[in-house]
């Protein structure tokens, strides 16, 4: 099977050559890259202003974001590209995007998910062993791929764990985008289509942060794409050595995904099974069977606990409104911007579907004309056609996954997480449709991508209220990971030892589980929600096995931006004012409680006498 192009084909360059050839008029790639990098500098200035509380920071931020994205997008849309130039643009967009993430917090990891994996990696380095308990994220214990990468780099280079984490995450992120590029090329897409697919993918909600954080999904994503690249290339004739090479590369990728991340491994399995059902070729069935065996063995033998862990968000969708510490709902105007982008995507997707239906009808009519209507039809879909159908199917899943937003408290987060995967095939479809039309479609496509990029910056991560880093904010995600909190959490590890059961608010939970290596407890809002310490509080603390209480008096100084303060907070959405100070100082007068630590803002109490 010889691949030609991922359907539909790109439009000829007639509309460009009529105007004298846009390639000649287009900006040189070097200048485009330079402009994009200038955007990183602007955003860095915005971040620096944010740290001092200067109001002009946001102006620099948006100028920078526009410069990072728009020149590259416009250059890709404006004319044909050689593979080298196309990849240079994609690499620049990815590197600059990662630079935006790094400059947000250049001295240390502050995102709670990253800190969980930072802790896991530190445990591997400290113990020299795998599968050690990690109270910060118990599920990650059974998926040590990222921790091994980080530990290997840090121990071999002598660099700090934090620096190694930045390097590993950056390279994995670049690998992921490059893998998408080579997958499209392997499917016969032009360099320009491959580049535009990556540009579209860069407008995803999670592209700038979750997909480039030091988290286990970042480790698994590039290998997920490489699995499909190997499957695609496995079918192309290159002699026995290359044949086995692609098979080995595919197997290694399946193993890496499985060892690195539970959700990605299940997505990989589902996607391979789905693709095998579409293509019905021997290689796709073998790939799906191998993936099934590897994932089943790993989850069955190494990580059986992950099944209940993965079930939690789904049960939460139909359960209580208790918060899980996520960013909460977005303002209406941000949802409107995102809605405009989604509507644009729907229109593009429907155009692709319509074109596909028409094409299939034409092919069927031609076949009927040639063979007669009674002739048997082939059972499966072969070659590039199958990949295009898979892209359309994946794109459809993006919209179906978006429906999760409307269901329960976990819905928005689940929808956004699902989009990380389903946005890849949708990006292929969108890029192909944009490039297959006349010049006005390129312009409309550019506008759509710009809207999507703005929507992603506003509705992705970090949330709109902390687009810029800044001073401490109560329950403010990265804004509440400050030197004071880090110092207090580090004190718990040094003076109390690891593994103590400690009640804490959201940021305290993140800090004590990572820097403190403690075993934080959720569902503790009751302990903080009244101005008096009652017997019921003492009973709850006893039942949960709580030894220490983390009390941050700064919760009384600002309103939590997500209107939630604790994991499993029953008052999620209702915390629209600062917590009363009396709720936080009541422990001073409670019987049987010792105040063992005080730094002016954070106080740590011990319940009962030491053993």
């Amino acid at each position: 099977v010889t691949a030609t192009i991922v359907a539909p084909p790109e439009a000829p360059d007639a509309h460009r050559t009529r105007r004298g050839g846009s390639r000649r008029n287009a900006l040189p790639v070097g200048a485009v890259v330079m402009l994009s990098t200038l955007g990183v500098l602007c955003v860095a200035i915005g971040y620096a202003a944010g740290r001092t509380g200067a109001a002009y920071g946001m102006v620099w931020y948006w100028i920078g974001q526009a410069l990072v994205f728009l020149p590259i997008m416009i250059r890709v849309l404006s004319g044909p590209l050689t593979q080298t130039r196309a990849f240079a643009l994609v690499a620049a967009l990815t590197i600059n995007g990662y630079a935006l993430k790094w400059t947000y917090s250049p001295d240390q990891l502050r995102f709670s998910d990253e800190l969980q994996h930072w802790t896991a990696t530190g445990t591997v380095m400290r113990t020299g062993s795998l599968f050690q308990p990690n109270d910060a994220l118990p599920a990650a214990v059974h998926f040590p791929g990222l921790a091994e990468m980080g530990a290997a780099v840090s121990t071999m280079t002598g660099l700090s764990l934090t620096a190694s984490a930045f390097i590993v995450a950056g390279i994995l992120h670049l690998m992921c985008v490059a893998a998408i590029f080579v997958l499209i090329r392997a499917c016969g897409g032009s360099p320009r289509l491959a580049a535009l697919t990556c540009v579209v993918y860069a407008t995803g909600l999670h592209f700038l942060f979750f997909d480039s954080m030091y988290v286990y999904q970042t480790a698994a994503l590039p290998f997920l794409v490489l699995t499909f690249w190997a499957l695609r290339r496995w079918g192309t004739p290159h002699g026995p050595i290359a044949w086995s090479g692609f098979a080995v590369a595919g197997l290694v990728s399946i193993l890496m995904v499985t060892i690195s991340h539970h959700v990605t491994s299940l997505v990989m399995l589902a996607a391979l099974v789905g693709f095998a059902a579409i293509e019905r070729s021997r290689r796709s069935v073998i790939a799906a069977a191998v993936a099934f065996a590897v994932v089943a063995i790993w989850i069955g033998a190494v990580a059986p606990e992950v099944i209940s862990y993965l079930a939690q968000p789904f049960t939460g969708m139909f359960g209580s409104k208790a918060g899980n510490g996520s960013a909460g709902g977005s303002p209406v105007w941000i949802l409107l911007v995102q809605a405009v982008g989604i509507i644009g995507l729907v229109i593009v997707f429907l155009a692709a579907l319509r074109r596909e239906v028409r094409r299939r009808r034409r092919v069927a009519e031609a076949a009927d004309d040639a063979t007669g209507t009674d002739a048997p039809r082939p059972a499966g879909v072969t070659g590039v056609d199958a990949w295009w159908l898979a892209a359309l199917g994946g794109g459809l899943l993006f919209f179906l996954g978006g429906g999760l937003r409307l269901i329960g408290s976990s819905g928005p987060e689940l929808a956004a997480r699902a989009a990380t995967f389903t946005y890849i095939p949708l990006a292929v479809v969108v890029a192909a449709v944009i490039l297959s039309g006349p010049r006005r479609r390129l312009v409309a496509g550019g506008v759509l991508l710009a809207v999507l990029a703005v929507g992603a910056r506003l509705g992705g991560w970090p949330p709109s209220w902390e687009l810029l880093p800044g001073r401490y904010l109560a329950a403010g995600a990265e804004r509440s990971i400050d030197p004071q909190g880090i110092a207090a959490a580090s004190w718990t590890e040094r003076y109390l030892g690891p593994g103590n059961r400690i009640a804490a608010d959201l940021s305290g939970w993140t800090l004590t589980s990572s820097y403190g290596r403690q075993n934080p407890v959720g569902d503790v809002a009751q302990l903080y929600d009244s101005p008096r310490w009652t017997d019921a509080d003492a009973e709850l603390a006893d039942r949960l096995g709580i030894t220490y209480l983390w009390v941050d008096k700064r919760l009384a100084t600002s309103t939590p931006p997500t209107a939630t303060l604790f994991y499993g907070d029953p008052r999620t959405g209702e915390r629209t004012s600062p917590m009363p100070l009396a709720n936080l100082t009541k422990f001073d007068d409670a019987p049987g409680i010792s105040k063992v630590y005080d730094d002016g803002a954070i106080v740590i109490y011990r319940l009962g006498a030491p053993e």
């Binding site: 990183v40 620096a48 599968f131 290997a152 004190w491 003076y495 005080d598 002016g600």
Partner: protein, 261 residues
């Protein structure tokens, strides 16, 4: 040449540098072993000369290198070997040497020149040819200047961000007072600790009060990033309070208490 000698030799030298902890060289060697050398050698073994394009090789080299670290780490763990810089490095170097040897063996048997990354070399050759054919002015304006400016811009962005982050951290001084019971019964005592992360030295006063009119005072002077500790024996149980004062202030700046048994 590359697969035959240079790659396995580099891997061995890199492993030695990791083992001996030579500053800077260790970092470069570790990065090469983590992201380049094993993958480069494996690509040479797994794929024929013209099977892959340059970008595909660029992706596969770090991907397979990281796979060696992860799958190798699992193998070491199962074998009961401690995961450390040396074990990771030796494993990665071993895979590189074996892969290079297999590649060479296969090349001799099939008569095909299986090399580490021919697609990459061809791409470099193409760029070099383009470079030579372009005029000096074109080279400078189209490639050299944008590349240099981009590097400078990224460096400036990093410098600004790191600088402002450090300034923000320095501005938020932390003074920690803590007290923990470290002995019970006849050996009852508490451990009192004071540490600061303030920029300037400061004079403090700590007053410890307990049952039966027990009282003790201390006057530590702490500089930046300094810690002061004292174990205090207590004659009797009950609540012990430690108040920290700054300079001549009369209101406690920090306060802790412990119910001693």
């Amino acid at each position: 040449m590359t697969t035959k000698i240079l790659i396995p030799l580099s891997a061995v030298v890199a492993a030695i540098l990791v083992w001996t902890h030579v500053p800077v060289a260790e970092a470069i060697a570790g990065l090469a072993l983590a992201f380049v050398l094993p993958g480069y050698a494996l690509v040479g073994v797994l794929f024929a000369r013209r099977a892959l394009g340059a970008v595909e090789r660029l992706v596969l080299v770090p991907a397979l290198s990281l796979a060696v670290a992860v799958l190798g780490g699992l193998l070491l763990y199962v074998s009961g070997i401690r995961l450390s810089g040396v074990s990771f490095a030796l494993f990665a170097a071993g895979v590189t040497v074996v892969a290079a040897a297999v590649g060479e063996f296969r090349a001799r048997r099939t008569g095909e020149a299986v090399e580490g990354a021919p697609g990459l070399r061809e791409a470099v050759s193409r760029v070099r040819a383009d470079w030579r054919s372009a005029s000096w002015r074109t080279r400078t304006w189209r490639w050299v200047a944008p590349a240099l400016v981009s590097i400078v811009l990224l460096g400036a962005a990093g410098w600004i961000s790191l600088g402002s982050a450090h300034t923000q951290e320095r501005a938020s001084g932390v003074t920690q007072l803590s007290m923990l019971q470290t002995g019970t019964g006849l050996d009852r005592q508490v451990s009192l600790d004071l540490s600061t992360r303030n920029a300037d030295p400061e004079q403090y006063r700590i007053v410890v009060r307990g049952s039966a009119d027990f009282q003790a005072s201390f006057a530590p002077r702490l500089g930046a990033d300094a810690t002061w500790s004292r174990d205090i024996a207590l004659p009797i149980g009950g609540r012990v309070t430690a108040d920290l004062y700054r300079g001549a202030e009369v209101t406690p700046y920090r306060s802790v208490f412990v119910d001693v048994t």
